[in-house]
Amino acid sequence: MLVGDSGVGKTCVLVRYKDGAFLSGAFISTVGIDFRNKVVPLDDAKVKLQIWDTAGQERFRSVTHAYYRDAHALLLLYDVTSKNSFDNTRAWLGEISEYAHDDVVIMLIGNKADMKEERQVKYEDGERLAAEYEVAFMETSAKSGMNVELAFQAVARELKYRKMRNPDDPKFSVTEYVKHESQKNASGCCS
């Protein structure tokens, strides 16, 4: 389930992930909750993700609250060009702890990372907040596609790990996985 302030790019990230396209032009705001399916091949299994895309506006909160408790994973987005949306993530995390399951997978995502000029929230700030709440963190760009695939992959892996859990399996940590994968990408860039 994608949550976060209005206009941070929840629908754009999802459409980039699902259809590989960037929704440019007019601002399409979600009304209520949108529902999409995507089947993700993971190693030898297939994970079916049911993705809820929520409206960020205050008036839809009561609707989204009802669906928190069914969510296995929450992607909390903010906009790196809007300090305000970042400040609000604490309130969102508060809501999550109130309405969602205790063991829900939470990932904090700073979107619009391609907009270097207008950036108001540093990468480190996001990282620090994520560490404080012990949630995974990454920055994405729906426009360039950066890290979008990775974000959903990481969540899918974590969910699969939880579902199939064998006591003998090595422990899977979404935080570690994200760190590892993004480093791999970064080094790939440099070489």
Partner: protein, 556 residues
Amino acid sequence: MATASCKSLEDSETARESEEETEIPKDFEPGASSESILISIDLYEEVENSPGSVYEDVSYRRRKSTICELERSAGKRVLAEEQVETSKSFDDKSQDGQLKAEIGHDESIRIKNSPNVEPIRIEMESIQMSSDEEKHEIIETAEDIHNPEWKQHSKHIFILSEAGKPIYSRFGSEDKLVTLMGVMQALVSIVQDNGDVIRSIHAGDHKFVFLVRLPLILVAVANTNASAPQLVVQLNCVYNLILSVLTSTQLCSIFEQRRNYDLRRLLGGAEKFLDNLVDTMDSDPSFLLVAVRCLPLTSAIRDTISQSIVQYCSKVKNVVFAILVAKNQLVTIVRMKKYSLHPSDLHLVMNLVNSSDSFKAAESWTPICLPKFDSSGFLHAHVSYLDDNCPACLLLLTVDKNLFFTLQECRRKIVERLHRYNCLEAINASLESEGYSVSEVGLPDLRHFIYKSKSAAQFTEPRLEAPYVSNEDQSNLFGLYQYLHHRMYNSARPLKILFYVGQKEIMLSWHMAGFELYAAFEPMVTKFTAVNTMNKLVRWIKKEEDRLFIMNAPTI
């Protein structure tokens, strides 16, 4: 009330009418069926009698809320929610008198360019600085009251709170109009102090129409053909839209807690619904007639569609309405027994679908309040387009907010069955032909018409063709229809039939017990021919009624 001249006019009209009666029975009503899918109402009666304050409305509704009733009947525990609002006495002034201030043209200029202009500018500058964070808003709306373009718009709509806080403006940014809205609030409250309610100000071609629905004030400023009562109807639609987003319960409780609340916070994302509604009302007769346009389909296809919906929705408890719309036209409604939909609620549903692209991409689940059905609470709507290649949108409305997955499955089966019976192709074919041509009627002098079946609350019109091609010509024609409609419904002197010689066409309107008919004719047509043509036209509509109207009202 009836003056001598008025009486003689009416007499001559009844005389003409009796001539026609040899052909058309008095209760003739093509498009009418024994059971209607929509509630039909007399719109002006309703406007006059509606309460001036939502507070009173709420206390009344809470006791007999339709949604509560539905929830109870479903054996669900009714949440011991918000205590019954105590009725406020705000409305005591709304009924007992009306003020229609007729002031001259220079008076209106004083309102617009009052000595307050200086402070306005200063305040605006400070606002501009403080609202830097809302930069996209400032970029897209450079218009304010000093902008000549802003003044040129032919119809403005403003919404403000009782405390004078700006909530919505059709043009320009509300922030920059804060002082103007203050003036509006002052006008309302000055008149209120005298125990009266301001209705309208007429200045030259401009009408300033007020609708006080506490805690909101709605204002229309227009120099179009729309009459003051028609503008009130439009403002009522806008007000209902706000209720559909918030419910009256929420609207009241917010302003009870904080009278100076900035409602834009809660309406976030709903601006485009307001914009779209206000734009549509300038050209769509649905709002003028308080009726619904149906998609022409053969009755066999329509029945198949309805039956498909009934078949699967009847298995789901708590579906109140299933509505299929395509490009602002109604394909069918399936409803729960006992409950009917009001046309203006359906207008809001259609407006929701039309103004949001987000439904096209995914299945949505959204709360919507239908104010005429029950203004105190939300229904929950499963919204989806039938297919990527079919612009028909299916809405399943329920009182149960946990029904998403059930309705998703229900919708899947409905779409499957519609595919099997080639219903999507039929809908697409009808949409592609854009309705029918007036030439199909076979009456050479007839250019265009609008026919409304009163009891069905449905209307039909042919597509606009030459000479109504340009936007200007089309809106002129609509203006003439507005004028006819206003004359026919004029409360001081309602008419049965009106022959009007316009600059470029002859217009004729005709009200019978069962229907309203408005038509445009070639400019040289005689009264006799025009009246004759109207008779033939009504017969033609009768012949085609199965295709043009929804004649049966399936229930679940």
